[in-house]
Symmetry: D2
């Protein structure tokens, strides 16, 4: 669930700040969302900002049934993820567009978390991934509605990365303009009190 | 998955029409969505309209992982549900509001179905369930965006049932006004060519 | 308000059908929306489908104040436009994106029309215009919510025309792919009962 | 446009803070939005927070034509309102629901303001007014999309006031619960850096 960061405790101690959680918003194996999540991680590293990645592919396969409703809080593996959410007050959501909205697995994940303690009063940065030129706007709009419902402040800068399969080369952006976009958003997220 | 309807084949034969599929939009056990789905079913029966109910609580527990992406089409139980979707050209979506949108499990279900064959050129009626006075509008708006993306005609009449735990008594509406609302919508759905 | 169509009455008589109203959704002079509205008009002409264009630039300059609320129905010029709306049961909305939604003047126009008689039970086709690569989705989603509220059936095919200043050359699409897109939508609109 | 506040300059000097602008989001005469705007004003007064009200009924009647596009910046009366917007970094939007969204006049007003200088980097609190039990959610969702596009941070607490004609008695809330709701939101708005 969490990427390897041996220096994380040290960073946290040094900076006295809580880790920012990056949520890779699909359970697809080898997703572009994961690649972009790691690019965010590198930006945080350059800024000495502790972070952790939650990749939805690491969710228990049956979490929609085993960690919801009457089973809430009963699933040890899901509870570990809940703890990571609780440990952060700032989030990055990396969001591909599936069928004109964000992935169902991401909404199911949010539905399974404690409410309203998980997110109320926290802050989120959203980034959209689209396979074509035009996608992503509806996914980010819907997710904003959900996060607002949960009491999350959502940064108005919500970059969208078009033609994601083209603009990533060897897991890096081919064009620096995208890194700049994400850096600007990250500055705003870190600066948010 | 499908409710018992021994007379269904007969009705289909008689009417020469395909069954309308009612989707109970949550995997919660004993949900109000299921109760409302059955009320729709009774309306269809009174109109001699064949129907079937897909209750998301009957989905394979791990379908988000086992019936998506590289596993698409590999899960026999999910394939049976896919066939039921393929057999219908009209749908009723019974939709509770979870966290300011429709349930994640419903979106994950839609994400797992074949695209665009499952829904393109078909018609859907949506009904919203809210626990309080005010909910439901965002859930139905988001679902409309998704269904439009999938090529579905969505009826503009989208009733919302407020305070669902109060207006249902012994699995029936206490006030006939709600039955009238659903009947009006059903008339429009059946009449749609 | 209405483009010159001396042959319109004849067409209507011959076809026995009501004109489709194309709404050019901004009051900007010389707008791309007007150009695209005329392209729709040419498509309708080729199909012998009567049509009329309402261009929002022709609205009375003070209609937001003079044709709303206590002044509703008092403005002769606005009443003429109301009559044109009443005469149609099918509409094309040509919609640029302004500030992440559709133009305020278009919403103000809809707010000023009779409710629910103006649109209830009618059908609309939407097309989005964007100056850049990515726009238009939110404008069309918001307008869909409004039209559904007003009881309008909205076609799920909602083409978006990106980089509109580039793809139009001499008031025609430089690439036939866009004409094909609109033709497909028009077929669906005309076929809708 | 601005309510009478002889003590405003004094308050501003004393507090060293910029006035918060309350936007009464309709041009209807005698609107509930204006009443609720004044209730916000009283809350700000109790907190010694300078404020000003922009009531859209005071806009130039023809502003959609005379203060937009090629006429931008040419209308002295509209320019005065632009200055008031520029003077604030925090806003309250009081928003009735018209036809399943926020009023067209409000969007037209936003479309007429300078972009992006008017709102970028600023903060907004939204409140929804509904005539019935259920309205308001879509209006606030659409307005959030627009404000995010303009670079505004939108508070996630977005109270909705149902049955507005009933809950206001002599221009005050009959039930203190609504005042508490608005006070909680105002605290968050004032506290926002």
């Amino acid at each position: 669930m969490i990427n390897e960061m041996p220096e994380l405790p040290l960073l946290q101690e040094r900076a006295g700040v809580r880790p920012i959680t990056i949520i890779s918003g699909t359970n697809r194996e080898g997703s572009y969302s994961r690649v972009v999540s790691e690019i965010y991680g590198e930006i945080f590293e350059r800024k000495s900002q502790p972070f952790q990645i939650i990749d939805l592919k690491d969710l228990p396969a049956d979490f929609i049934f085993s960690a919801s409703f009457e089973n809430s809080g009963e699933h040890p593996e899901f509870n570990e993820i809940q703890k990571k959410i609780n440990a952060s007050s700032k989030f990055v959501f990396v969001v591909p567009e599936y069928n004109g909205s964000f992935p169902g697995v991401l909404k199911a994940f949010l539905d399974g978390l404690e409410y309203p303690g998980s997110f109320k009063g926290k802050t989120a940065a959203l980034v959209g991934l689209a396979s074509g030129h035009m996608g992503g706007a509806l996914a980010l709009s819907h997710l904003t509605d959900v996060l607002h419902y949960m009491g999350v402040m959502v940064l108005p800068i919500k970059p969208r990365l078009p033609r994601i399969s083209k603009i990533l080369v060897n897991k890096k952006f081919a064009d620096g303009i995208y890194t700049d976009l994400l850096e600007e958003q990250v500055e705003m997220l870190i600066g948010q009190s």
